[in-house]
C-alpha cells in the first residue's frame, strides 16, 4: 500500500497522502489528536495539583496503628512505616515536584530566552560568549553540576531548587540561539537595521516575537527533566528533610523496606512519577507539533 506510493510521492516532492480508505478508518485527524492529548495531559496535571493541595495535611498524619499495610480500598497505595497514607503522600509529592519543576523550568527557560535573544541581536561577540558559556555548562555531567550547586547553595529545598533552576538552560539556549541567528540573518531584520533601529529594538520586536512559541514549547519540554532531576537530588539526600513527601525521598525510603517485602512503597509512587513526567512530556511534544509542524517526522 503506502510504502511504494509514499516513496514515489517523496520522489515527486509530495508528502504522503492518505488514501480514501485510510481516512474513513482514522477516528481523529492528527491535529485533533494533538489537541486532545494536550487537553488530557493538562487535565491530569491539574487534577494532581488540586489533589495534592487538598490532601497535604492528611499526607503527613502518622497513624502508628496502621503501619506498612499493603494496598487496599482504604489505602490504595498502602501505608508506610509510620502509617501515613501512601496515595496522599504520593500526590503531595507529585505536586511538590511539579511546583519545583515549574519554578526551575521557568527560570531556566527565561535565562535561555534572554541569552539567546542577546546572542542573536547583540552581535558576534555576544553570540560567541553565549555559545562559550553553554559549552562550559555542558562540560560537566549534569548531575555532578547539580550536586555541586546544591551543596554550594546550602542544600535543603533551597539548594535543590536553585540547582535545578540554574542548570537546565544550556540545551534550550542552543536551540533558541539557532532560531535567533536565523531570524537575525533574515531579510526583515536587515531592513529594520537599515532603517536605523538598534539591537535591543530588533530583539524585542522581531526576535522575541519569533522565539516565543519555541520558548513556550521548550519550557514545557524542560519540565520533565527538571522534575526528574529534582527527584534524583532528593533521592540522593541532597534536598529536603527526610520526612518531606518529595517523590525522590519517598523512593529512597522505600529502598529500605524492599527487603521486608513492601514493594508498593517503591513501585507505585515511581509509577505515578513516571505518569506525570509522561503527561508533561506529551503536552510538550504536542505543543511543539502545533507550533512547528516540520518538527514532526515519523
Amino acid at each position: 500500500m503506502s510504502a511504494a506510493s509514499d516513496a514515489l510521492g517523496r520522489l515527486r516532492g509530495n508528502p504522503p497522502q492518505p488514501v480514501a480508505t485510510e481516512i474513513a478508518h482514522r477516528p481523529l485527524d492528527r491535529r485533533r489528536r494533538t489537541l486532545v492529548q494536550i487537553g488530557a495531559g493538562t487535565a491530569l496535571i491539574a487534577a494532581i495539583v488540586v489533589a495534592g493541595t487538598v490532601l497535604s495535611a492528611s499526607a503527613e498524619l502518622t497513624d502508628l496503628t496502621a503501619r506498612r499495610l499493603p494496598p487496599s480500598l482504604a489505602h490504595p497505595f498502602g501505608t508506610d512505616w509510620l502509617g501515613r497514607d501512601m496515595l496522599a503522600r504520593t500526590l503531595v509529592g507529585l505536586r511538590l515536584s511539579l511546583a519545583i519543576g515549574t519554578l526551575a523550568a521557568t527560570v531556566s527557560a527565561v535565562i535561555a530566552l534572554l541569552l539567546a535573544a542577546a546572542a542573536g541581536a547583540l552581535g558576534r561577540r555576544v553570540d560567541t560568549a553565549v555559545s562559550w558559556l553553554v559549552d562550559l555548562f555542558l562540560a560537566i555531567p549534569h548531575l555532578v553540576l547539580l550536586i555541586l550547586i546544591a551543596f554550594a547553595a546550602g542544600r535543603g529545598a533551597r539548594g535543590v531548587i536553585i540547582a535545578v533552576a540554574v542548570t537546565h538552560w544550556p540545551s534550550l539556549t542552543r536551540l533558541l540561539r539557532g532560531e535567533a541567528r536565523r531570524v537575525a540573518a533574515s531579510d526583515y531584520v536587515a531592513v529594520a537595521q537599515r532603517l536605523g533601529h538598534g539591537g535591543w529594538w530588533v530583539a524585542r520586536r522581531h526576535l522575541l516575537a519569533h522565539l516565543v512559541p519555541h520558548f513556550t514549547v521548550g519550557l514545557v519540554l524542560l519540565f520533565p527533566h527538571a522534575i526528574l532531576h529534582e527527584a534524583a537530588l532528593s533521592f540522593l539526600g541532597l534536598g529536603l528533610s527526610p520526612h518531606a513527601p518529595a517523590i525522590g525521598i519517598i523512593l529512597s525510603d522505600a529502598m529500605r523496606y524492599l527487603s521486608a517485602g513492601a514493594w508498593w512503597l517503591a513501585v507505585l509512587p515511581g509509577l505515578a512519577l513516571l505518569t506525570v513526567v509522561k503527561a508533561v512530556d506529551t503536552v510538550g511534544e504536542n505543543l511543539r507539533a502545533l507550533a512547528d509542524p516540520h518538527s514532526v517526522h515519523e
Binding site: L64, R67, L82, G237, S241, H243
Partner: protein
C-alpha cells in the same frame, strides 16, 4: 539525612598499598572451624581509637584493657587490675595491676603506663572527663596511685572505661595505630569502610575463639542488606527494619539503657550567645507549663509499639530502671486533657483564634530537629508532632546533620539520645556548669537545687549515699528536680532495646545491658563467643 547505601567495604587502596595477605574469609559448613566474623554494627570511631581522646568511653575498648570491667550482670570485676583500695577521704585510689599483661608490641604493661594514661586523659579533657584527677603516679611496677582533687563517687566508672595506652608508643597518630593489651589488635582500618582486627596472641585473658573480626561501616540500610545477603554474622538494625525473617539468622533483642528524648532549651531567648556566637534560648520551651504539658501529653506506649516495634519501654527520665532511678519521679502520661489543663494554668490560651495557643504574644510553635540519618529519631519526632497538634501546639519537624544541629541546639529542641551505666551522665546533662559543653547540657538547664544535689552526689564517698543524692536530683522531698514532675528539662520518651540479627550458629553468650551507642557494646563479652555449628 538519608544516607543511602554508602561507603562500602570494597577495598580501594589495595592496588596502591603493599599486599597485605588479606585472604578470603574462612567459613566452613559443618566440621571446619570458623575463625572469622563479619559484623555490621556501625560505631566507627572517626577520630581514631585513642582512649585518651574518648575511644571506648562506654566500655570495652577492644584494643586496650581497662583496670576494671563489668560482667554480664553489670557487676564490677577486675580486669587489668587485681584489686584496688580507696582511702577514707575518697581522694586516693590505690590500684594493683597484674604483672603478666603485655602490649601488642611485646612491651609489658606497667603501672607507669597506667599513670601515664590517666594523666594524659586528664590533660585532654572533654570526652573522657577525668578532670577530677589531680595526679596519677606509679609507686612501683604494679601499683599505681590515683589522686583526686575532690572525692568523686563515680570515679570507679573511669577505671572501667579508660583503656590503658603504652607510654612509649602514645602520641599523634596513635589513634590510627593503637598499641594495647586488649583482646584484639588493629590490623587494618579503611576509614568509612571497614575495620579489621585480629586476635592478640599475648592477651592475658581468655583467648577469643574468633581470630579475625571485620567490622563494616554501613548505614542502617546497608547493615540490613548485608545481613540478608548472608554477608555478615552480626548486624544491628533499627526496629522498623527488623520486620522480616532472615534465613540462617535470629533476631536478638538486647536490653539497653539507651534512651531517646527531646532536649528543651531552658532559657528564654534574650540575645545571649555561646562562646562560638550561637544564639541561646527559646521563648516557648523556656516556659515550665509548656515543658510539663508536653511530657504529660505524649503517649509513650504508642511510641514503643509504633516506632520501636515493641523493642523498648517507655521512659520519663534519663535513668529509668537503673539502681539510682527515683521511682517517685515517674509521671502519668498520654493524658491530653491533663496537658491542656497544665497549659491553661500556665497562661496559654488561643487568644487570636488561629487554632494555636499563645501567651504574652508568643505563639505555641517551634521546630524540633532530628538527626537526618536516624530513622528512629525521625519517627519519634514525627509521632510527637502529631500528638501535640490537637493541643494547639504547632511543632515543625526538621531533619538535619549533626553539623547543622550543633549551632542550633541551644535554641531549638532536638531529639537526642543518651544512656550510660555511669551516673555521671546525670551530672553532665543537668548541672549548670555543663551548659554548652559538647552535646551535654545544650539547653543550658540550670536549677540551684538540682546543682546542689548533683554536687553532693558526685562528692559522696559512699555509693549508697551517692544514690540518695542522685535520686534527690531527680526529685527531692521539696518537689525540686530535673524530671518531668518538677523542672522537666527534657521530655524523655523511650528506652530502646538494641536489635541485632545474629547468625544462628553464633553463640554470643548473654550480652550485658548495653549503654548508648558509639562503639561496640555487644563485643564486651567477645572472648566468650562461640561458634556452635
Amino acid at each position: 539525612m538519608r544516607r543511602l547505601g554508602l561507603l562500602m567495604v570494597a577495598l580501594v587502596l589495595a592496588a596502591c598499598t603493599a599486599a597485605d595477605p588479606v585472604g578470603a574469609p574462612q567459613e566452613g559448613a559443618g566440621g571446619e572451624a570458623v575463625t572469622e566474623l563479619r559484623l555490621a554494627i556501625g560505631g566507627e570511631s572517626e577520630d581514631g581509637y585513642d582512649p585518651t581522646l574518648g575511644w571506648g568511653r562506654y566500655g570495652s575498648p577492644l584494643f586496650q584493657s581497662t583496670l576494671l570491667a563489668r560482667d554480664a550482670e553489670l557487676n564490677v570485676v577486675n580486669d587489668l587490675a587485681t584489686g584496688y583500695e580507696v582511702s577514707d577521704d575518697g581522694l586516693v585510689y590505690t590500684v594493683a595491676i597484674r604483672d603478666d599483661a603485655v602490649f601488642s608490641d611485646g612491651e609489658p604493661v606497667t603501672a607507669a603506663d597506667v599513670a601515664y594514661t590517666f594523666n594524659a586523659a586528664a590533660e585532654q579533657g572533654g570526652l573522657t572527663d577525668v578532670t577530677v584527677l589531680e595526679s596519677a603516679q606509679a609507686t612501683d611496677d604494679t601499683t599505681v596511685e590515683l589522686r583526686l582533687s575532690e572525692p568523686q563517687s563515680t570515679f570507679v566508672n573511669r577505671m572501667i572505661t579508660l583503656g590503658i595506652v603504652p607510654e612509649h608508643a602514645h602520641g599523634d597518630g596513635y589513634g590510627r595505630d593503637p598499641v594495647g593489651s586488649g583482646p584484639y589488635v588493629l590490623e587494618r582500618w579503611d576509614e568509612g569502610q571497614q575495620l579489621i582486627v585480629t586476635a592478640n596472641p599475648d592477651y592475658y585473658g581468655e583467648q577469643p575463639v574468633f581470630e579475625r573480626l571485620v567490622f563494616q561501616f554501613t548505614d542502617e540500610d546497608g547493615n540490613l542488606a548485608a545481613a540478608r545477603a548472608g554477608e555478615v554474622q552480626v548486624a544491628v538494625v533499627p526496629p522498623a527494619l527488623a520486620a522480616g525473617d532472615i534465613d540462617g539468622m535470629r533476631l536478638v533483642s538486647v536490653e539497653s539503657v539507651d534512651n531517646r528524648g527531646i532536649l528543651f532549651p531552658y532559657r528564654p531567648s534574650t540575645g545571649e550567645t555561646d562562646p562560638d556566637g550561637n544564639p541561646i534560648g527559646n521563648e516557648v520551651t523556656s516556659d515550665l507549663a509548656m515543658r510539663q504539658a508536653i511530657n504529660v501529653a505524649v503517649d509513650r506506649e504508642a511510641l514503643v509499639e509504633g516506632i520501636l516495634e515493641g523493642a523498648g519501654s517507655p521512659a520519663t527520665g534519663p535513668v529509668d530502671g537503673l539502681p539510682w532511678y527515683n521511682a517517685d519521679s515517674a509521671i502519668a502520661y498520654a493524658d491530653p486533657d491533663r496537658a491542656a489543663e497544665l497549659l491553661a494554668e500556665g497562661g496559654w490560651e488561643d487568644t487570636d483564634g488561629d487554632g494555636l495557643l499563645d501567651k504574652d504574644g508568643t505563639a505555641a510553635a517551634f521546630t524540633v530537629l532530628y538527626p537526618a540519618d536516624d530513622s528512629v529519631r525521625q519517627g519519634l519526632a514525627l509521632a510527637v508532632v502529631d500528638m501535640l497538634a490537637p493541643l494547639g501546639i504547632e511543632v515543625t519537624p526538621e531533619g538535619a546533620s549533626f553539623d547543622e544541629i550543633e549551632p542550633r541546639m541551644h535554641t531549638t529542641p532536638v531529639v537526642f539520645g543518651w544512656g550510660s551505666h555511669d551516673q555521671t551522665e546525670m551530672y553532665n546533662l543537668y548541672h549548670s556548669k555543663m551548659g554548652g559543653t559538647d552535646f551535654y547540657n545544650a539547653g543550658y538547664f540550670a536549677d540551684s537545687q538540682v546543682d546542689t544535689n548533683l554536687d553532693l552526689a558526685m562528692g559522696a564517698t559512699d555509693l549508697e549515699e551517692a544514690n540518695a543524692f542522685w535520686q534527690a536530683a531527680q526529685l527531692d522531698g521539696d518537689g525540686y528536680g530535673f524530671t518531668a514532675k518538677a523542672e522537666a528539662g527534657w521530655a524523655w520518651l523511650v528506652n530502646l532495646d538494641h536489635l541485632y540479627y545474629v547468625d544462628e550458629c553464633l553463640d554470643i553468650g548473654s550480652p550485658q545491658v548495653e549503654p548508648h551507642g558509639h562503639g561496640y557494646p555487644i563485643t564486651a563479652g567477645i572472648t566468650s563467643w562461640r561458634w556452635t555449628c
